[in-house]
């Protein structure tokens, strides 16, 4: 345990406190640090871009969860013995294997206002073309849709492995008791998939909160900052061409950490309760 705890403290615990400390300073990464108390947090409260990013984070969290049911149904669909099923499974898993950067590029082309497939189809149905990534109202949803593609594949693979360990005897017993369809899924299969669901929720929530690559590739936070999330805003303030406000950025990081703590707290509580229940 000791080396593990040491590494964890050095690379996780210590930087967390370092960031919290830094958030009380004004620092450009080069010169002297100046202690300014909670100034950075006060400024955050008055920063409309911060609230746009926060709102987008919430949208991401809510919509990203769709990857879980989508992954479940993909898994149920693929959980059959047909000739060549392994190939189909690999193909469904494919989007998770390719880099997020590639996913972002593919979707940018898909949404491209002049030649993109989406607009070719829309025009085919007689609609006007939409530049999804250039519209403040759609950009975030466009990016989330791109993110759901690999995330669904990830959840699917979690459920596929979970389905392997579903007890056939219980299904048999369920059949005898006349359970089928939705009832079978809800009362017999899903409870057995609980560990898979748990992992799927955890990775999806984390995936939603650290959504960064797709935003960077697809919109760079735009148009006019309307598709930024906290992680991206933090990066922009600290490391982008025009940033270098380390303290302010650390304050954003602390807020992001606080949001994650809520989730982590909820999950730990569930775990604790379940352990006690059995």
């Amino acid at each position: 345990m000791a080396p593990g705890i040491f590494m964890f403290s050095l690379y996780v615990i210590f930087p967390i406190f370092q960031s919290i400390g830094l958030s009380f300073y004004q620092w450009d990464g080069l010169g002297e640090k100046t202690y300014i108390g909670v100034e950075n947090y006060i400024e955050l409260l008055d920063d409309e871009y911060f609230f746009i990013s926060l709102k987008n984070n919430v949208i991401w969290l809510v919509l990203y969860i769709l990857a879980i049911p989508a992954g479940l149904f993909a898994a149920l669909f693929l959980n059959q013995t047909v000739r060549g099923i392994r190939i189909y499974k690999s193909l469904f898993f494919f989007p998770f294997v390719i880099s997020q950067v590639v996913v972002g590029l593919v979707f940018s082309w898909f949404y491209d206002p002049s030649n993109g497939l989406l607009n070719v189809v829309l025009e085919g149905f007689g609609f006007n073309p939409v530049a999804i990534l250039a519209e403040e109202d759609y950009a975030t949803y466009g990016i989330i849709a791109a993110g759901l593609w690999p995330q669904t594949a990830y959840c699917m693979i979690l459920y596929l492995t979970g389905l392997n360990s579903v007890d056939p005897e219980q299904i048999e017993a369920g059949r005898i008791d006349n359970a089928r369809g939705w009832k079978m899924l809800w009362y017999v299969i899903l409870p057995q998939l609980k560990p898979a669901t748990f992992i799927a929720v955890v990775v999806t929530v984390i995936g939603a909160l650290r959504s960064f690559d797709l935003i960077s590739i697809m919109t760079a936070g735009g148009p006019w900052g309307s598709s930024r999330v906290l992680a991206y805003y933090m990066y922009e303030k600290a490391f982008s061409e025009y940033g270098f406000r380390m303290g302010y950025s650390a304050a954003i990081a602390v807020v992001l950490l606080a949001i994650m703590m809520v989730y982590i707290g909820l999950i730990l509580y569930r775990l604790y309760r379940d352990e006690k229940g059995y």
Binding site: D28, L30, P113, A134, A220, W224, E241, Y242, G243
Partner: protein, 412 residues
Amino acid sequence: MKKIFKSQIALALAGILAGTSAIAGTIVINGDTSDPAPKAAFQAVIDGFEAENPDVNVVYNLFDHEGYKAAIRNFLSADAPDIAFWYAGNRMGPFVEAGLFAPIDDVWADQGLYSLMKTSAPGMTMDGKKWGIPYTYYNWGVYYRQDIFENLGIAVPKTWDQFIAAGKTLNANGVTPITIGSKYLWTAGGVFDYLNLRTNGYEFHMALTRGEIAWTDDRVRATMANWKQLIDADFFLENHAALSWQEALAPMGNGEAAMYVMGNFAVAPLRELGLDDSKLGFFQFPEITPGVPMAEEAPTDTIHLTAGAKNPADAKRFLAYAARADVQTAWNEALGQLPTNAGSNVVDDKFLNAAFNMLNNDAPGGVAQFYDRDTKAEMASIGMENFQEFMVKPERLEMILERLEKARAKLY
């Protein structure tokens, strides 16, 4: 391997015998010339320097162009090279203030640069000292489809009214007047700069970018009103917020758009799209307020002596070499840009000739660097983001100006 080792020993011995000067002769340069043409151009400069100064060995660390902007902060404070590439104007401010660049007034004096580089001197001056050597600059302006203009009988617009009329004719013939890709924001900064320089003049523009004038000032409103006039007259490419500047070249290449407010670096990719000198032309951004002296944008790229340089003596020799007229002639010929040394020759090229003539004869108002080089970094990013928003949602003008004013009040 063995041979190299032997020759190293021989070199070291020779160094000891010859005294310290030969051992000390290594300078380290960090740069961002990652595109093929600039890379080859700078390698030629290094080779030329080494040939003339056999006692100095140049080590060049090449960084990716975008990655360099983040890397420079680390290497300057942690393990400084002798010389680093950067940009003139406010962009070098943080490094000068943090004491990471070293002044090189002696090089300027020895080489007579005060007179030879008079035009780019202001951009290199802070606290009354010179902080680097400018090696190249390039013009901005309007690149246009000469053939389309000729076919539609449009003369090169000299005044605002002619400009608006030209746009009307183009739109009537199904051609978008101006192409632009504002995804990475700075292109919108270029348009703002020209509108403001032409509406209010150089002095006002510089005062505004220095944060001395409120964004809610009526003169700023006049600039924005002119901009709105262009937006309302459908001057700009649709969906520009989704495009990068490179992606916005395509409509110009295939004739869907006729003008591009851009820097000289757009010429090379436009030529690759098949626009030869008979199809592609250049004109100075037209006059808006009569009587306001024409001012231009010409961003300057620079090299600097770092404060942590281990071999400043030889580094200064290199900087002096890089400032020399003949060196700058060859360097900029390879770059396809303009030399900063007045004694250099400009390569014979339609666009460079036009630009050189414009900057030297038709820019009495002054020469600005660029919005994001004249403005404080954080203000620049907020500013350009709001320009992009304005171009799509001009009705939000009031909100945008108030937002910019709030940022100005905080940052200056």
